[in-house]
Structures are given as C-alpha cells and as structure tokens.
Amino acid sequence: MDLIWDGLREAIHILRTGDNSVWSITLRSLLVSGSAVVISLVLGILGGAFLAFKDFRGRNILLSLVNTGMGLPPVAVGLIVAVILWRSGPLGQFRLIYTPAAMVIAQTIIAAPIVTGFTAAALRHLDPRLRTQLYALGASRMQMLWIVLWETKLPLMAAVMAGFGGAISEVGASMMVGGNLAGETRVLTTAVMLEVSRGDFPVAMALSIILLVLIFIVNAILTSVQQQEKM
C-alpha cells in the first residue's frame, strides 16, 4: 500500500515540477491513441453504416468477423504488425517500424473492430423508417448519415470511449512495434514497463496514476458530449 501512496506523491511531484519528459510521454500517449481512435471512428462509422444498412449475402459472416475482432489479443496484433513492418517483412521499405506511426497502425487495428461493432449495433437499432423519412425530407446519403449519427450519439460515444480505452491501455503491441524509444515512441504504458524493470516503483506507479487520470479526463469529456441533448 505504501507503494501506492508513494506513487501518488510522486505523481503530484511530477505534475508540479512539470517534468518535461513525463509531459511529452503523456502527450504522445494521447496523440497516438487519439489518432488511432479518430481513424477507427472514420472506419467504424463507414463500416458500421455499411454493415447496418446494406443488406447483402454474407453480411452475418462479416459481422461475426467484426465481433471477433473486438476480442483480438493486442499482443498478437502487435506481433503480426511488427513482422509486416520489419525491414525483413513485406512493408519494410516504408521504414515504419519503431515509429509512432507504427503504433497508431497497431492501435487502430485493435480499436477499429470495437468502434465498428458498436456503431453497427447502434445503427441497426434505429427505426429503419427513420432513414426513409429523412430521404423523403430530401436528405442526400451524407446528410442522412450525419443526422442518423447524431441520433445514435449515445452508443456511438460509448464506442469511442471503448475504443480509446483499448488503445491507450495497450502495452504489448506498442512495445513491439514502437520499441519504447525515449523521446520517440515511449508512451505511458511502455514507460511503466520500463520503470518496473528498473525497480523504480514509485515512478512506475506515478505514471500509472497519470494514465488513469488521463483516461478519466478523456472519458469525462466524451461523456459530456454524449449526454448533452441538442436543446
């Protein structure tokens, strides 16, 4: 228990002294996972809308795949992405391994099925006649999608929160494709791993607390967007 109190004190100390490295690591966590979530959102909305609205043979198979994707083990994703991005791999020439971009790719693969699955479920719950009414009002396909997304704001925001949570808490894949390089690809989760292996537990705890607070803040913002009525 002392360790947790030590960690708390260390965390406050860090935030007060404004240690550069911790801020930059925190910012990087936010940017990497945030980007992954934004991309997942775009993919998720398009994919979810496609799965929800278009009736085609094999739709159920595709939906099952997406649902399976929600439970993908991140470390397995990390390994596969790493093998592909290594110089010895098929996409090595893009020199993406050990860069933040590689981490965004891995985290997107982890988060996208979550967002897609939630979005598809939310959209399918909608009254199908609503879309008819919107088209009748004169909506183009894009306008219809935008309005319908606002109508399903609640589950959609839940999807974003779930996707973000999955991405920012992820450590295995980020380690493998990012390499935990100081100043380049070190994020909160990988930094925690490093401090633990060094035996610097107070700092590790502090970083964990910062990570928790970060997730809380982000979710608080998203929840407020989710809960407001368009009034």
């Binding site: 009254d127 006649r129 609503l130 008819t132 009414q133 088209y135 009748a136 009002l137 004169g138 909506a139 183009s140 306008q143 309005i147 606002w150 109508e151 704001k153 009525e229 368009k230 009034m231």
Partner: protein, 371 residues
C-alpha cells in the same frame, strides 16, 4: 396539362417476387387521391415509388410529365412524405421542422418564417423550443404535419398518418389536415385503410388489392359501384351519402339527404355537414303499396331497384331513391317477393342503423375539387 405525378408500366419486385404492378396511374394537379387496400396489398410500396424512395424494377415515374430517372433527389425535394410514426429527431420541435427545410436550401430568414407560420397553423407554436421527445403523441403528429407543410411541397404524400392515434384525436387532426389541404390546394396522395378518411378527404380513390389497382375513380362512384367483390369488401359496399343535419332533439339527429330526411342517433359534437353510413343488412325491403305495419323503424324511403346482384344465398339490391341505397336480403326473400330491376320498392331502417360521421368542410361527394 400533364398530370402532376404519373406511373407508367411500373413493376416492383422484392426478393424476386412481384409485389406491385401498375400499368398506369395519374395524380392530377390539386387533387387528393386516396389509396385504400388491405394489409400487404402494396399501398405503402406504391407510395414509396411515388415518393421516389423506391426505384421500380420496370417502368417510369413521371413528374410534371417528365421522367424522373436520374434526378430523384431534386424531385424528392419538391415533395413531402408523412408517415404513420412522426419519427421526430432528438432535438427541439422547431429544429425538427427546420431540418427538412434546411436540407432543401431555404435561406435562413425564410426558414424561421416558415417554421413559425406552420407551427402556429397546427397549434404547436408553444412547443417550439421543447424537446421533441417530451411531447404527446397527438402533439408529435401535429409537428409532423407542420414539418411536411413547412416544406411547401408541390406534392404531399401521406402513409396512414393518423392510424396510430385514438379516434377523437384522429378526427381532430383529419379536420386540420382537410383544412390545410383546402387552403393550399396541394396535390395529395394518401394511403389509408379507413373508408371514412378516404371519403372525407379524397376526390378520387384508388383501390389496390394484391399489388394491382383494381379500381380508380371519383370517390362516390367507387364506393357506390365497386367493380368486383374484392373492391366491394374493401369499400364496404355500404350506403354512404352526404347530408346536412337539420335538427337534433331527444337523442335523434335528423339529416336531410337530397329530398329525404333521415333520422339517426344524435351524438355530441356532430357538425352540420355529416356523412350518413348505412349497412345493407340493416335495410328491410317491402312492396311500396303494402299496408304499413306499426314498427319502430323510423326511416322509410321509396325508390326504384337499379341492380340486383346474387351472392350465394343472399342478394344485394341497389335502389335509387335520389341517392344510391344498398340493401341485402336473402335469396329466398328475393324470390318470394318477386323483385326485379325497375320495380318500385320501399326501404325501411331504424335510426340505430344510421351511422353519422362528421364530414370535413372541404368537399361534398360528387363535386370535383377546383384547382
């Protein structure tokens, strides 16, 4: 002038099966066309095709005489559709009305004016800033009406708009709709399963059964002379005529129909313009010069038999007493009385058998709507 909206050789298929086939249908500028039919007959499909929301497998939709293929979105923005469920969005009432207008590119100032005007027209201006989730069913239907009319469309399409409401609310809203239609002279197509509604609002009625239109014509004609049994069962093969209530006393409402006065049961709130509905089973026939026994039947009319239709062990007898009157008697009675077309006959029925309905001030049966 070309009809406002037309279908030519339209065939609609769902999962390979044919669900609608309309060789030809015209909706004229300024008229109200009612579409009635049993469940699953294809009414909604027909409306979807007219609303350009469903592209038929074959055939063409014509708007102002020109084919719409390829420009569905722009034509759709000149029409309005009202569905059974108002399906309002999660935002304020005013915002809901604004949504459609905005999508059609109406400038802001004009937008606000229209919203205000039409919310007021349907008595929901006080709800403008309220969340659409927090209003009653009836209020939601009014907002839906406001939303449709605010679009100031050239064609209004309605799919059983008030089916989900209770009777009194439905009556009220029908009146409001009838009033608004009368003022705007909008070309309207509306789907209903309620014969009274069709009669109240429709200039012409189309009867659709099994994916095909069995009969189209002026409402009164279709109702009075259904072309086949299928249509007849739908339109109810009843006597339905318009009349003016001239007196109410002691629970009896007296209605003048042509040169007759018919007594029916009085009801609160019955206006002057009413529809008299009489089921053929409730009409008793007797020879005109027969000795009139004392009976409780208040109504006795004289007329001439115009048609006799045999239906198994029953016979439907059409009588012209200044208006078409239908009676249903047993075949046995028909033979015993030796009735034949052209004969004079007397028809009696009780006041209880007379069903009186309010009729909108819009149009009387047989009159064509002026454009």
């Amino acid at each position: 002038m070309a009809p406002k909206l037309s279908l030519r050789d339209v065939v609609v298929r769902r999962r390979g099966a044919e669900v609608l086939r309309v060789p030809s249908l015209d909706v004229h500028e300024g008229e109200v066309l009612a579409v009635i039919g049993p469940n699953g007959a294809g009414k909604t499909t027909l409306l979807q095709v007219l609303a350009l929301l469903d592209r038929p497998a074959q055939g063409e939709v014509l708007f102002d005489g020109a084919r719409v293929r390829g420009r569905e979105l722009s034509i759709r923005r000149r029409m309005a559709l009202m569905m059974q469920d108002p399906l309002l969005l999660r935002r304020s009432v005013a915002e809901n009305v604004a949504t459609g207008i905005r999508m059609r590119g109406v400038p802001r100032s004009e937008r606000k004016a229209r919203i205000g005007r039409w919310l007021a027209r349907f008595d929901v201006a006080h709800l403008a800033e309220r969340s659409a989730r927090k209003i009653s069913g009836g209020e939601a239907h009014r907002v839906s009406l406001a939303r449709a009319f605010a679009l100031e469309p050239e064609v209004l399409l309605l799919d059983e708009p008030f089916a989900a409401l209770d009777q009194p609310t439905r009556e009220t809203l029908l009146d409001e709709l009838a009033g608004a239609l009368g003022e705007t002279g909008l070309t309207t197509v509306f789907v209903t399963h309620d014969r009274g509604e069709a009669l109240r609002l429709g200039d012409r009625v189309a009867v659709i059964v099994g994916g095909r239109i069995r009969q189209v014509g002026a409402t009164a004609e279709v109702f009075a002379a259904p072309v086949d049994e299928g249509v007849a069962s739908l339109v109810g093969a009843e006597t339905i005529v318009a009349g003016k209530r001239v007196a109410s006393a002691d629970g009896i409402a007296s209605v003048r129909v042509g040169e007759h006065v018919i007594d029916g049961l009085a009801r609160d709130g019955l206006p002057e313009d009413v529809l008299v509905v009489l089921r053929p089973e409730d009409v008793t026939l007797m020879k005109p010069d027969s000795h009139r026994p004392e009976s409780s039947a208040r109504n006795r009319l004289h007329g001439t038999i115009t048609r006799i239709t045999l239906l198994g062990y029953q016979a439907r007898v059409s009588i012209d007493c200044g208006f078409p009157l239908l009676a249903l008697i047993t075949k046995q009675s028909l033979e015993e009385m030796g009735l034949a077309v052209g004969e004079e006959i007397a028809a009696t029925f009780k006041a209880h058998a007379v069903h009186l309905m309010a009729r909108g001030a819009s149009v009387s049966i047989g009159e064509q709507r002026s454009s």
